[in-house]
Point group: C2
Chain length 108, copies 2
């Protein structure tokens, strides 16, 4: 008699909650179109808040809030120049994920 294994006889390999949370946290950054657009622009060159908010078509406040979030996650860094604050990408990983994700979207 053949005992067919259907379910639950082998162990399940699964990422632990802590690592999964850290990973999810990283992807969360790119899960909003505003942040995706900010990063897409910063991949090209560094920009000030004013340039970003104009390109986004959003208020300075909204833009600044998102930049604050990206700063807290150490994905962007800023340098003050006069009354401007110039933002740049400060994490290779995010740019890589962005590029790979974009490539996948476009090849479909």
């Amino acid at each position: 008699m053949v005992t067919e294994v259907i379910c639950g006889e082998q162990g399940v390999m699964m990422l632990d909650e802590m690592t999964a949370s850290a990973l999810a946290e990283t992807f969360k950054v790119l899960s909003d179109s505003t942040r995706v657009r900010i990063i897409s622009a910063l991949v090209e060159r560094e920009l000030c808040v004013h340039e970003l908010s104009e390109a986004l078509g959003l208020s300075h406040s909204a833009t600044s809030h998102q930049l604050a979030m990206l700063r807290e996650m150490r994905l962007v860094a800023a340098t003050k120049r006069g009354r401007h604050k110039i933002y740049r990408l400060d994490d290779e990983h995010i740019a890589d994920l962005f590029q790979q994700g974009l490539a996948h979207i476009l090849h479909t």
Copy 2:
């Protein structure tokens, strides 16, 4: 006299909202630790709902809800086998992004 360009004199290259939204939508899938864990398990082998919910430590309902979402996005597919429904990954891209993201997390 040297006119130093500070801001706003060059055009800003930025992804359009539609493409950015599509990209964000993709990353949103991986922006939750439960879904990350489900995908991490399905990368190894196909699994039924019961196995997933046990490994997750979540209710069958919660697990089923997340699987429904992944199904709608065509990232997983299911085959009914008796009273079990066996889920498997059905999108190469997501597995790639997951792997790359994980590699980045671990090398830090």
